[in-house]
Subunit: 159 residues, 2 copies
């Protein structure tokens, strides 16, 4: 998984704390974590294509959340940055060579047992991530550190 | 995830069907799916290091399952081939730059919220795979195609 997933998730949490009308530049979002701006900008554009952030050009331009933080799941963020392919790679070897000559009755043709088992695991992974929103994560950060949201808001206000 | 995971899982199912005393060469296991022998041999050696298969050298040498197929989970196979690192890459950006200057009271120091959410998803993925054994998969293949186990056993007997 690309490191951009971590970056994007933290940026979404931060954007949930700045005033909704305020657009934050990629440079400023990057500076908060000392990240390379150009590379973070790519991630932010990927979030934009997924509707997770909206971008605005011009002197007061930048990024803001594209919908409420309770409407953005960690799965949305991961898929926007990393794609939605599953981890397991099935190349269909069971159809090759002598294995492929094993006649399977038409009515019993199924998806590969191994691929299906990995798909179920992948589904469990996605369900967990789909159930956690940016709003949940932001609330959890605040429980651990109640000062976090004000600190972030003020830091981005000094822009 | 490496394509070797697919290869290894199918080879384990096949080995569960050949007579327990019979060792099967990497070349023969590879030929069943027209796989490159040298590369499959690497995967089989990785399975060997994890105790999933045992290998025997000599003219009647080869691989056999290292323990019962009901004692080998798909998680064991995936970890042997692909390692046990989780998908999410946490580089600890929250400790860097202005973000890192946000003082967190000692008693509230927690693992990163984002990393923890991905860990829980990873755990759900592992649990699913740990609950599926080679014996389960072999039984499922036979339900779809009752001839599969005999076909495999006979094919590997003609060695």
């Amino acid at each position: 998984m690309r490191e951009g997933v971590e970056w994007a998730a933290h940026c979404c949490i931060n954007l949930s704390w700045v005033a909704p009308e305020k657009a934050v530049t990629a440079a400023r979002l990057a500076a908060f974590y000392e990240l390379p701006t150009a590379y973070l900008n790519k991630q932010l554009n990927a979030l934009g294509r997924a509707g997770i952030v909206s971008s605005q050009s011009g002197p007061r331009g930048g990024f803001r959340l594209g919908r409420g933080p309770d409407q953005i799941s960690l799965m949305d963020v991961a898929a926007a940055i990393d794609g939605s392919a599953q981890a397991f790679l099935c190349t269909g070897i069971r159809h090759r060579g002598p294995a492929g000559e094993l006649a399977v009755p038409e009515e019993h043709r199924t998806r590969c047992t191994v691929a299906r088992a990995f798909s179920l695991a992948d589904l469990a992974w996605r369900r967990q991530l789909a159930a956690r929103t940016v709003a949940d994560l932001a609330a959890e950060v605040r429980r651990a550190n109640p000062a976090a949201s004000d600190y972030v808001r003020h830091w981005f206000d000094r822009n």
